[in-house]
Symmetry: C3
Subunit: 664 residues, 3 copies
């Protein structure tokens, strides 16, 4: 368990660097990330590199005993570059080019951008890669490629470079224009294409695009960024022996397939901003009309952050780093409340419990200029300590306990399937405005957290063998491969819970012409006779032996016809609402309605007891429990003491504090 | 009374066509509409026509005994066409071109679009027109030109083709640039034009356009689409002896003068979507803050739909068809609730009672691809029957009653004047944000419906002689011709009710310099001394002998000075609020305030008794009554039984059911 | 004290001019403003001037005894000009050009626009300037340059002319590109510029611009309009001896530094629209969630209007004119309520009491055409008198009293500092969404009004020596010069109240690296240890001896460390919340939290008693008091009688009426 910090030496006088380095070490920091936006400083004019300042900064920091992570600065191309090569600039969906004056205004498919990025990264890695790092005491430990791919709604570009690349991507995928027409159903409204050149990105000059067109563009856009990262990775890897390579992810970010982006990296790191996330993700996660929790005004919503941690862990099914840990107030929410002492510590404990191996604070000192002036750091603008600094000091005295927990094994018994194809297909066609894949997942996520059961958010392709329970709230796009993968898991003894709208779509986003759940029908042993939206206030009563699973079923309901399954719950009409089908050594439940939190809780409690997950008695709101080996880490996000019952004993946790409960 | 269905053979394997045709006949369907979006299939490349598949489809359907309506597919030009002729594409008000990938992305003034449309329609009608139809058993009964002109907010194009056509249109209208300057009042803010070429469409690069400029562009845009339809009509008519020609209208659609569009057609058909309309039109029809009625969650608001039926009937003052009858859930509202059995039947009865001669369901089977995947059909995606199918079967057993009602005479005693010039002038300058012509009409419409009095929505030019009462809530743009037309109606014994803001504008959208109601002043026998908006919460008390007509007068009030009229109601100030003027054999009432529903009800009840319309005792909310000959069709849109009093007798109608009450 | 009216002879038949002139005189009007939008009439084609009609209009009006103000009509360039010189057109932030068809669609940096404006104004002033005015009986008394600079959100243009001019402006300001990079902190995110040509306006193709870039563009935009006005002024002044030159300002308009615009003019005039302002400015002035006052439905919010009066008076620290006085209903708010008799009179009295020397009504008669058809005038469309006319007549009989008050001395004892740099810097980075400079000022403004204490809104550079109390709610951008200016005021015996976020920024919008309040630290004798936003519902209790100053402190709080100051209030934590520092003969208070209205009232009451301002007992809501010499003008904006206590005596003022109370 280590602490680090993000630092921008180029923002401060050289004379200050040694002071800062010394202060960092005094605060217990061991790692420093630098260089990530400094392209204009590294290459002040086309092809003219200046490494002197960076050599000096590295020397100064390393001399103080800090380990260094270098960011490639490609998220911020210099003005001399973008002003002369306009094809580098990203276009919005409305066809308007972005421009110099901020970051991430680049197109991942621009050949020019690739060329200049390649030249820069090559020069950088030749100077600071593993083969040369010995010169600098071996203290450059790793690389962060670029910064927050897709950040600030930049995950998709609609430029002409992208149009050309999209056509090539489609040719690779479909082979012939006839196959594409078939796959997209372009016969509808005479959309039929007779030449690849007729196909554009789904810019907003199309009033509403074909959903197959749209979904393929989402995939293509994600692949484009993954390929851009791979270009850098291919340069860095061969020269970076002994150095890790990673990227800093963005939690619940939706516009990019983060599983794909994570695959070639050594591990995942991410940027955790507690007080900004509820405003950003709450509206997608919570039931319509429910505000994010504010257990204490400055802590953020720990379930929303926790879900992000659990996705970051699930990306590679292994521990992660926090590369940017919020240290105090931020500058990008609507209110940007102050943060009290004790809160950054609570966040660090949360990250650690959820699987963070290293926590790097953002940022060392509040910047005096430009866009992020109002974002706090460990130090204030005038160099005096801010809250994060004080909490960091406090954590030095509990370092042994932190290290102990970090060393405990970490294996979640439950997997929640999070599939970008499903997500995107349902974003494109929610059918009811407030249906959101993430919201559906969160119903189950929240129920599991209340029982203190850890859960990984993993992709549909992940190895599921380690999980006792797999939940697929909406296995929406269901190819035969996906069905087979789930079938294998079940046959080997797993329990699979499938939800509404499963099996609806083909790989190219057409509707199956088979009875639902389509390719999953045999596995579920059930046929969906019909489905429908119930508007607010309308519901169907339920009859079931599952304890506490009571009606009404609302929002989205499906009438089920069991084929090989038997019925666990029925609607008032007598139609089946929940079925269970035994397959091999395992079983599949199909839940024919979109559950409320209480309904999901009742069903999961029932299942958890059945399969021996030993849920905790319901935790009070604001209290989280993470089970690591023999330890249970309890985190209280409220201002008042709360009590959990662990191993039959009551454990009181103080407000905005943590407690570790060890068994045996 | 016939039933039909919309079918897209090109979406399904040829092998399926005969199966579908047989199933249609089994369901009681007699008519099928096809071909309307199949341009790319008919003309897969420039000038290369392929009729084989369509011949085959027609043969298969006709062989099963179905009568066929052919749609011209011009709403969906193929990619090969729009990608090579960019001048076909419609421009938004912001000057941005629309693009391929959806429908209706065309400019009605593009010469290229006219040329290609003309060639296609000519080829189509030569093959399938009346002179050749005998070859196909005479079963192609008619033509639908294009599809939903203006649909999806495409009623106005702002491209350079349109700019040129607009200048020609203005030259025709005004003759000289001086006359235009005079007519538009361009002396204001130095807008004066010195050359026709200086005049553009009122794109949104004008912060706020001159209201005369804007109104003329609205008229021009409407005329452009009417002319485009006429171009097709001129091709079809000579070759289509024995076949009708129509278009499918969109109910309360506002951006197009539907009276003009209807004039040259044989009859009007329209597309009736009950569960989507309240969300779309409710905010324009209902008092601000009032939500559309939801008597039962899946029925829609029958008053909003009823008003659309009554406008469709009024377009040509004769019965109409429903060309697209909603069969189950739709895909374009925000929630898209499911639809229960019994509801489609109720909708069909409603349409029939209101004057529909034929009802064509949309669509046969839910489509597997593209934009409308989530729109239901009579069959589900997997080919199994959906609710509409079941209701269609149920109606087969009541076919005799349906036919009986369809044959009954239909004559509404009341006309509501619906004038596009008034509507547009008030949209452009509502003066208070929530003033809307349609909302003002609806106040009276709703009051009449509650009395079970049928009403036609007709244009200002319509023959009014058959109506006992004519209501002009706001006869806003009042030329001398319009005044004379109304005068003639009144002199021959009619009763005319005029409302606020009448007589305000000239033909070119200037304010009259005469005392209000301008050209209508002699007819009304009253002068409007002043008018004003009263903000919410402010009102003026009333004194009147009209039963139940109580204050306060709110929202918009006018102080009246009777000239030849006498006073029926006064404000608390003693100023006249409602007057009556006898002219010839008839009379004109001028109501000097914008009434609430209750005030309109009181006044109309009073008038209805005076002129012998025999209103029903107030119908309960959710119950509608249509009087056809000796029959009264009662429709209950709630889930509970409701009671009407007809001819002094109580009639109970079950929830979501109908009842026919016959007199004498 | 004089009354005038705005008139557009070009809108009416020449035969009507004499009638109108006679009616104006009968109504008591002495001044008429004409010509301001008549460019197309003056110069109907390029270089062809037509003065005949204007000569005639002037002759006719002067003959009736009216004094004339001529507006230069440059706000409305003719179509022949803008259609041939597209570089005249203003661009929006999105890079889209504005267009002909309205007004103010011009770029202040267009050389072409300057050239054509110069030629026109030169010709106009040669004909109607002071040297020639004797010809016309000396009745052309002054000039209004252009009309409402910046009106309709036109204060900033983003075109290529502006881009070039901005680069020159930056070169003048910073000298070298290195200095600019330093001043803007462009090292952040590699924004560094290497060539002036790389710098664009901060168009919206930059996702979020550097705040230094943005602030400089706001300044540059303001300077551009000031320079455009100066160009006209330089033409008019030499030829206009005996004539004044002014411009009609827009009250609380924010996009233009009105102090700079006012500086070279003879006096300020402004356009006062009572019923539109609350909707426009209320959301910026009032606490979030509080609706503007509606003491009576047609009067507007007198505090919002009063604040505008007090700013207009503060622009040059002298009396002003109302150049457009609302006469009845307007046409640009969302409801545009009618206005009752008595209300225009109340507005005139309000303007007079606040320092208006002349009141010019807008407009003579409601226009029959174009954009402002629904805006009232003294006459209605049909030429009959409207409410303003009646009120004007009523004021003729109280002319002696009006003149008496107008002659009374006017000196506010309190100054509120209103600084455009502060305003803009905080608009760009409010940190919490609802922080607004104007809202912060209004807290104090409202408290002072409730005490009947007059206040000038003056710039940071104004002469402060006449004020007993100076309030700087947020002296945000604090250069050394600004600190010295305030220090001088205090040393000479003044009392200065400083608020939160003071001293935060440098001149180029960087954050100071010194402890806050930065350059103001010595003056305040206090150091801000930390600052933070408290979200709604969170607050810190207060302990203080200041009467009625009770907690909690909310919204924005700062912990203070007194250095030379002593503590007047503390938070519950014991940290200082309000301090006082004696400097020379005066003192500085630093208030470490953003006060509520009640807290501001308590503090200001305390201070007012201390420094002998003799506040009135709290005035009831809706009652305003202005002290002019020995008189107190009381204005009641409600419909009910209200009572004030003046000089210890109760004075009852009737609803929508005024009362003048004289002392001694």
């Amino acid at each position: 368990m280590k602490f680090g910090v993000c630092y921008y030496p180029e923002h401060w006088p050289e004379s200050r660097w040694a002071v800062d380095a010394r202060m960092m070490r005094e605060a217990g920091l061991e790692i420093v990330r630098i260089a990530e936006f400094a392209w204009a400083k590294m290459e002040p004019a086309d092809g003219q590199f200046d490494w002197g300042w960076l050599d000096q900064a590295i020397d100064t920091l390393a001399a103080a005993g800090l380990q260094i992570i270098l960011g490639t600065p490609t998220a911020a191309p210099p003005a001399w570059l973008t002003r002369t090569h306009l094809d580098i600039l990203r276009w919005e969906k409305d066809g308007r080019s972005r421009n110099h004056g901020t970051r991430r205004h680049t197109c991942p498919n621009s050949p020019t951008y690739h060329d200049f990025s390649r030249r820069l990264v090559t020069a950088m890695v030749e100077r600071y890669g593993g083969r040369t790092a010995a010169v600098r005491d071996g203290r450059i430990i790793g690389w962060q490629i670029d910064n927050e791919f897709g950040g600030g709604h930049t995950g998709r570009c609609y430029c002409d470079n992208c149009a050309a690349a999209f056509r090539r991507w489609l040719q690779d995928r479909y082979g012939s224009i006839d196959a594409l027409n078939e796959a997209w159903g372009t016969i509808f409204w005479s959309q039929t294409y007779t030449d690849w050149a007729q196909i554009n990105p789904p810019r907003d000059d199309i009033d509403k695009a074909n959903p197959s067109h749209e979904l393929d563009y989402f995939r293509f856009s994600s692949d484009s960024i993954v390929a851009y990262q791979q270009m850098q990775l291919d340069i860095i890897r061969p020269q970076a022996s002994g150095q890790f390579v990673t990227h800093n992810f963005m939690g619940l970010y939706l516009d990019l397939n983060q599983f794909d982006l994570a695959a070639p990296l050594d591990f995942v790191t991410w940027d955790a901003y507690y007080t900004g996330f509820p405003e950003r993700w709450g509206p997608l996660l919570l039931p319509p009309g429910e505000a994010p929790a504010a257990y204490a005004y400055d802590v953020g919503d720990p379930l929303i952050l926790g879900m992000a941690h659990d996705l970051m862990r699930g990306l590679k099914q292994r521990p992660f780093w926090v590369m940017e840990q919020q240290a105090g107030h931020i500058n990008w929410s609507s209110v940007n409340a102050g943060v009290r002492r004790g809160t950054p510590r609570l966040w660090c404990w949360h990250a650690l419990a959820a699987g963070a191996e290293t926590i790097v604070f953002f940022r060392w000192r509040a910047t005096l200029f430009a866009h992020e002036q109002y974002h706090s750091g460990l130090l204030r603008h005038d160099g005096s300590p801010d809250v994060g600094w004080h909490d960091l000091h406090r954590m030095q005295v509990e370092r042994a306990l932190l290290d102990h927990i970090a060393a405990e094994p970490l294996q979640a018994p439950v997997a929640l399937l999070f599939d970008y194809d499903d997500l995107w297909a349902l974003q494109i066609q929610p059918h009811r405005r407030d249906f959101h894949c993430l919201r559906h997942l969160f119903v189950y996520y929240r129920a599991l957290q209340q029982m203190g059961i850890m859960v990984d958010l993993v992709s549909g392709q992940a190895d599921l063998s380690a999980y006792r329970l797999v939940i697929a709230p909406t296995a929406h796009t269901a190819t035969a491969e996906r069905a087979a993968h789930l079938q294998q898991y079940v046959e080997q003894g797993g329990t699979l819970l499938l939800g509404v709208r499963s099996g609806f779509k083909t790989a190219s986003n057409l509707v199956t012409d088979q009875p639902l759940p389509g390719t999953l029908r045999d596995l579920a042993g059930v046929k969906v006779l019909d489905w429908q939206v119930l508007p607010d206030g309308i519901g169907w009563d339920l009859a079931t032996a599952v304890p506490h699973l009571t009606g009404p079923a609302t929002y989205w309901v499906e009438n089920l016809e069991p084929e090989t399954a038997y019925v666990l719950a029925r609607y008032e009409s007598g139609m089946a609402a929940l079925t269970e089908n035994w397959v091999g050594n395992g079983r599949v439940l199909y839940l024919g309605f979109y559950p409320t939190a209480a309904q999901a809780g009742a069903l999961l409690t029932h299942l958890a007891h059945q399969i021996g997950l030993k849920p905790l008695p319901p935790l009070p709101a604001g209290l989280l429990a993470y089970r690591r080996g023999h330890d249970t880490v309890l985190l209280n996000f409220t201002d008042e003491p709360l009590t959990a019952v662990v191993d039959g004993r009551s454990v009181v946790v103080n407000g905005r504090d943590i407690s570790v409960h060890s068994t045996g």
